[in-house]
């Protein structure tokens, strides 16, 4: 250590200023939604740049929470997204472990196949997917959505988990196996806890894949009471002129659970491997 960590060198001031300005610029478009959600209905067209518009009112939030089926949409979205998170993390952590720790016939082909699934333009998987779900009676069910979303999130999750497992030395598992530990136990008791940061990324990614998806949801779900948040909010945005403030208010309310989840997982993502006592 040459300098004390908390000295305000010119470089550090510059970095701090850059980060603060960048964060403000990043948040600005979201502040725009705040502004629009607070705008009274007679000021749809305004050239004011004020964050809090003149005559601001919270009416749109009240309308969303108490007059629109917004809470129902949120419940539906939470059910789907949490199921996708659990399923995605389970499937990705096991599949990636096989890819990282074992040599077996079809290993490389399997890894490539996971990647290849990302290459087809989503547009053309939708029509066949619709036919498949219709035949399996999965239309207008959450199960259909959950399976579809898990499949979209899996390739990335498998690759991330595999990359992370590769950085964890496998000597501990090897020793445990030699001592007669079952392979499944070695995986769940030794490797999985060490992979917590990657598990957080996988969980967050699976959740987001389900939370914001619109195009597949529109095909699978048609009954109003099954609407997820994107479908519900889009149905408001359809009547753009009259409901724009309601729509903006709803959009902001949508971000709340996501932010909560991210902050909860964030500690895990960044604290990293410092807890684990394993050194290669």
């Amino acid at each position: 250590m040459k300098k004390p960590a908390d000295a305000w060198t010119p470089g550090r001031v510059f970095v701090q200023a850059f980060l603060v300005l960048f964060a403000i610029a990043t948040v600005y478009p979201i502040l725009q939604i705040v502004t629009i959600s607070l705008r009274p209905s007679d000021q749809l067209y305004s050239t004011s740049l004020a964050i809090i518009p003149p005559g601001a009112s919270l009416k749109a939030y009240g309308v969303m929470l108490f007059e629109k089926p917004f809470l129902l949409w949120m419940r539906n979205s939470l059910i789907v997204s949490l199921a996708v998170t659990i399923l995605g993390v389970t499937l990705a952590s096991t599949a990636a472990y096989a890819f990282s720790r074992f040599r077996f016939a079809g290993r490389d082909a399997g890894l490539y196949l996971f990647l290849m699934t990302q290459m087809f333009p989503a547009t053309m998987t939708m029509l066949p997917l619709y036919v498949l779900m219709k035949n399996l009676h999965l239309l207008d069910t959450f199960a259909g959505l959950v399976v579809a979303y898990t499949a979209t999130a899996l390739p990335f999750c498998v690759w991330t988990m595999r990359g992370y497992y590769d950085t964890i030395p496998y000597e501990l598992e090897q020793a445990a196996l030699i001592d007669g530990c079952a392979p499944w136990e070695a995986f769940t008791k030794i490797t999985l806890p060490l992979a917590a940061p990657a598990l957080s990324i996988t969980a967050l990614f699976s959740f987001m894949a389900a939370w914001s998806e619109f195009l597949v949801a529109r095909i699978v779900i048609s009954r109003q009471e099954m609407f997820t948040l994107p479908l519900g909010l889009e149905s408001l945005a359809g009547q753009f002129q009259t409901e724009w403030a309601n729509y903006a208010a709803g959009s902001l309310l949508v971000c709340v659970p996501v932010m909560a989840l991210f902050i909860a997982l964030n500690r895990n993502i960044v604290s990293g491997l410092s807890v684990g006592g394993v050194k290669g």
Partner: protein, 293 residues
């Protein structure tokens, strides 16, 4: 590598494989089949095998090559800014910064926003008269307003700006995750060797980030190339006059506005083969580098 009963890795893979087969491989196969037929609105129930006719049509039209160039530009510019901004911010955030948690949380907000909401909000911000961007240009910087959504060039820049904003937080989170797995000893050793900040970045940080960044970049490239939603919503379906399309939004329009299903399927097969070639090329190169390193 670990030793375990031969069936163990397959048991681990089974659940994931079943899901992928049902939801991804069946539709892919069906689309390939469709690409060689003439299914459209007029031939929906009864359609015939037409061989390579759809592909001949696509490759003989100049629109394909124009769209390919625009898709390439769209992908390169986006991924370049996603990765550079993401890695830069992650590194700055892992240094001594006040309010680190707050800044990090704010920077991730674009990712937390549902994309369709962001796209529609940005579209509002690009409005010529009432949009925040032109108002800022006029009122704060005293610059002339930009015809964001009516001029073909700016109408293509607008979705790119939107998508850069959407995409950098993901790369930042990936890079942050990668940074935590770098042992502090490596930096201490670099300090002992008298390395400066840039040398530490190129010799320690970047190589250690690569195992996490390379798959993220590869997938980021594919996602960006295949991103229909942003261009579609920000330019309102390719306006003005279908001048802002990239390959995938064009396919979307052909499939769902003009109902030329088989033509669209063939188009997406071409896009798929392009991306496949790209990925195989990149993987060959990175594994060749690993072997020589």
């Amino acid at each position: 590598m670990l030793r375990a009963p031969r069936a163990f890795p397959y048991q681990l893979l089974l659940p994931a494989t079943i899901v992928m087969l049902a939801v991804v491989l069946f539709p892919l196969g069906y689309s390939f089949w469709l690409a060689f037929r003439n299914m459209s609105l007029y031939h929906f129930r009864v359609h015939d095998f037409v061989g390579l006719e759809n592909f001949r049509l696509i490759l003989s039209e100049s629109v394909f090559w124009t769209l390919l160039a625009k898709s390439a530009a769209w992908t390169f510019v986006n991924v370049f800014f996603h990765v550079t901004l993401g890695v830069l911010l992650a590194i700055l955030l892992s240094g001594p910064v006040r309010g680190k948690v707050l800044i990090r949380t704010l920077l991730v907000l674009p990712w937390a926003m549902p994309q369709y909401i962001s796209a529609l909000t940005w579209r509002g911000m690009f409005n010529y008269e009432y949009g925040a961007i032109n108002l800022i240009l006029k009122q704060w910087l005293h610059l002339p307003p930009v015809p964001w959504l009516s001029d073909p060039f700016w109408a293509f820049v607008a979705p790119i700006l939107t998508n850069i904003w959407l995409g950098f937080p993901f790369m930042m989170v990936v890079a942050l995750g990668g940074l935590t797995s770098i042992p502090g000893e490596l930096y201490e050793a670099a300090d002992l060797d008298g390395a400066n900040g840039w040398e530490k970045f190129t010799n320690v940080t970047l190589p250690s980030l690569m195992p996490v960044l390379v798959p993220a970049m590869l997938l980021g490239t594919i996602w960006t190339f295949n991103n229909t939603l942003i261009v579609w919503l920000v330019s309102n379906g390719g306006q003005p006059a279908d001048a802002t399309h990239i390959l995938v939004t064009f396919i979307y329009k052909v499939a769902f506005t003009y109902s030329r299903y088989s033509y669209a399927a063939a188009f997406s097969v071409v896009v798929f083969l392009l991306l496949l070639g790209f990925v195989v090329y990149v993987m060959r190169r990175t594994s060749a580098q690993e072997r020589t390193a």
